[in-house]
Amino acid sequence: MKRILLIAVLLALTPACKRAAREVVVYTSVDQVFSEPIFKEFERQSGIAVRAVFDTEETKSTGVLNRLIAEAQHPQADVFWANDPVRPFLLIKRRLAEPYLSPSASDIPATFRAADGTWTDFAARARVLLVNKKRVSPGEMPRSVRDLANPRWKGQTAIANPLFGTTTMHVAALFTTWGEEQARAFLASLKTNDVRMVSSNGEVKRLVSTGEVAFGLADTDDAFEAIKEGAPVEAVYPDQEGMGTLVMPTSAVLIKGGPHPETGRKLVDYLLTPDVERRMADSAGHMPLRPDVPVPQGVKRVSEIKAMQLDYARVATDMERIEPWLRQWVGL
């Protein structure tokens, strides 16, 4: 028994002994597989240890955000790296964002940064229609998100649960752009057209890649992964002749009252460098906001597509406003 107790104490002490003198705490909804190498590089360059909390796929975008809100009275995080540009506004509304004008952001287009420094966008994704080329002929390629409601594709398309992830923001953006009535009618038509609602964008990718559905709404990084895996798919940037494609930069926010404000600023500075945009383009197919950052084959720059013209703050407001209705629509 004494031997077991000794082992227990030694094991418990091990992590404590490894704690670094300087550290920063970051919560992120960017996939761990992409964000963690960025943190490791920051650790290597700065000597500051990064302690991170990641989201699960099923509660992507909302899990760590809710944890930040739950911890609002006693913030544990220094930095929030959001995987979309809307969630930061939910923190700003709750006075959880600390204004910080990072010198690294000076060459990021002004539309992608807050004048007061409460948020700064970088490395973006776009919402695309991921199409299985074996199931959809070139002449039938969908061109708009409205094609999800086209009876031609009844029961053959998929979207992720709009209570989570980038799908929430997409639906909110449609409410902002089309207005209440048109957006609700569109969502009702999705139900009529038997659009499959699945747990995540990753699941949409899987269904399209295997041909279980003809096409579905996903993000550019899902498309990037599917193409890299050799799936017979094509990413269509929807509504290029109309309202444009939804572009979703990731966003860095310094948390007010975080335990390590100084190292938090250093991490924000690092995240906003062109090098991180390049790394995110290479590893995750993210679209750089800066026009001069090199991109790998198959990845477009934001300047190369027609983007939806949106006020992300308004989208955030709409997102919270439609939440009760959306939950009813989902059935929860």
Partner: protein, 529 residues
């Protein structure tokens, strides 16, 4: 003056030593398990009518019925597999029965979603058996039931086997003089194992109904996933999530009632560690067929681990392991070891108290059972609400919160493990010590602990493994940069390289196997007779 007060206090403490020790152990259970649940109950009035309206919708109830049906199916399948297998490994001459038991039991000590991951590597579209049909079957209710039944059937097997090994040998010997082997098995052995079987059914049902990782991985809609989703939804509303989880409370209380009614005192006696050795029942002409069937079941349970190993080796996953594994193994091992020690200590006091029917111990045992069967995500939100305050910030931001969470959820393991052995140890030793003037604490440390050291150590080991396999409780509040290994595997699984994820899963398997092996080696020797 101070000396007089001190003397009076010491005398009072001595007189009420039993109450003080039980209260200290009870305080740990109350602080870890009851406080988070009470804190969330207090959130309900503040959540308002909107929160209560959640239960006015049909979907949550539909999901609840679906979850209960799936858990019932898992339980039925686990009993169908585990009951006969328990009998075979404990009391027959099945070839290699000890090795078979170990092979069959091992997956029980792993996070079930790890096994689902293995089945995916085997039956998924890019698995070793590339078939559209197997993939569809896996990502369905059938797949969920099969994966969980194979994961949890060792619980039934082991409890039944331990119960049969611990039963009074004279009963069986007497029966064997007058009856055929099959009659002895069906009329004596299986009825004797009924309390163990009932307890196993309750444990499997509780584990199945609160399982989160496997249904989320296999994309099967279940109630706990809906609660978890509500916690991670657009608006953070813990009160509403708790309201949503309320229907699970009657389920938890129902399980507690069933456990008390069907199992009763037998619940403490199922893990008999004092059975006398007897000659095994010869299987005769059934031996080859039963051996083939039993080994097939054991190998089926281990198949997903083989698939994970192949995936990791073929994809070079082990080469990238150092890059991705981080500190997770140390966090897992350290926190699990400390939590298991705390659980064993509380278990020694309350398990002994429950077995000897000391006042309050039974109520605290019931509370521990309730915390175990409550959905882990609900417990997790309660833990955040209680511990994320300015006064306890240091604890909340450190690995201590993992230890508190594990203790909250798995303290029942320690209580039950100790109670089961204490109940089978002679009470006259304690009575003799008391008559000689030994007070409660001294009797506990000098008599109960040495006499039952094997049971206490086994309880520690079991608690350690339960903490190691935990995913559901820790995922909501793990401290930044200190995620346990199962959480790391789950968050990396989303878009991580499959060979690396498989290698990480195997690292967890290896760690668990090592802990079990070292733990068994360090277990105090069984006392003769």
């Amino acid at each position: 003056m101070a000396e007089t007060v001190g003397r009076t206090l010491r005398r009072a403490l001595r007189q009420r030593e039993q109450t003080v020790v039980l209260a200290a152990a009870g305080a740990i259970v109350l602080l870890a398990s009851a406080l988070p649940l009470a804190r969330l109950l207090a959130e309900i009035p503040g959540a308002g009518t909107a929160a209560l309206a959640v239960l006015a919708r049909s979907r949550p109830w539909g999901l609840l019925i679906r979850s209960l049906a799936l858990a019932a199916a898992v339980t039925a399948c686990a009993i169908a597999i585990g009951a006969p297998l328990g009998l075979l490994v404990a009391r027959t001459d099945l070839p290699g029965r000890r090795a078979l038991w170990m092979l069959h039991a091992f997956p029980m000590f792993l996070p079930p979603f790890l096994l689902a991951l293995g089945w995916f590597q085997l039956l998924g579209r890019e698995g070793l058996v590339r078939s559209e049909m197997t993939a569809r079957l896996l990502f369905s209710e059938v797949g969920l039931v099969v994966v969980l039944a194979l994961a949890f059937s060792p619980v039934v097997t082991s409890l039944v086997a331990l119960s049969l090994l611990g039963m009074d040998a004279s009963l069986e010997e007497a029966a064997r003089l007058a009856a055929r082997q099959s009659r002895v098995a069906t009329r004596i052995l299986l009825p004797a194992a009924r309390p163990a079987l009932a307890l196993a059914a309750i444990v499997v049902f509780a584990l199945s109904v609160s399982e989160l990782g496997v249904p989320m991985f296999l994309r099967v809609d279940v109630f706990p996933a809906a609660v978890f989703a509500r916690l991670g939804g657009i608006q953070y509303a813990p009160g509403e999530a708790f309201v949503l989880a309320l229907p699970l409370m009657p389920v938890a209380l129902g399980l507690l009632f069933l456990e008390r009614r069907l199992v009763g005192a037998g619940s403490f006696a199922v893990a008999g560690l004092r059975g006398m050795s007897r000659a095994p029942i010869p299987l005769q002409r059934w031996r080859p067929a039963l051996a083939a069937a039993s080994w097939s079941v054991a190998l089926a349970g281990a198949l997903p681990l083989g698939a994970l190993a192949l995936r990791a080796v073929r994809g070079g996953g082990f080469g990238n392991l150092p890059q991705w594994i981080g500190q997770a193994p140390w966090t897992s091992l350290g926190t699990a070891a400390v939590a298991a020690t705390l659980i064993a200590a509380v278990g020694l006091v309350l398990g002994h108290g429950a077995a000897r029917r000391l006042r309050g111990a039974s109520m605290l045992d019931a509370l521990a059972v309730l915390a175990f069967v409550t959905p882990a995500s609900v417990l997790g939100v309660g833990l955040i609400a209680v511990w994320n305050s300015s006064a306890t910030r240091a604890l909340y931001g450190s690995v201590a919160i993992l230890i508190i969470g594990y203790t909250a959820r798995y303290v029942v393991v320690g209580i039950r493990a100790v109670a089961s052995v204490v109940l089978q140890s002679p009470v006259h030793l304690e009575e003799a010590a008391a008559a000689a003037g030994a007070r409660f604490w001294r009797r506990l440390i000098r008599i109960v602990l040495p006499v039952n050291s094997r049971g206490v150590a086994a309880g520690w080991l079991l608690a350690m493994v339960f903490c190691l396999r935990d995913f559901e409780t820790a995922v909501l509040y793990y401290p930044p940069g200190r995620e346990p290994l199962p959480v790391r595997i789950f968050t990396l699984e989303a878009n991580g390289p499959p060979p690396v994820v498989a290698a990480l899963a195997l690292a967890h398997v290896l760690i668990t196997a090592l802990v079990l092996a070292v733990g068994v080696l360090l277990l105090p020797r069984r006392s003769a007779g």
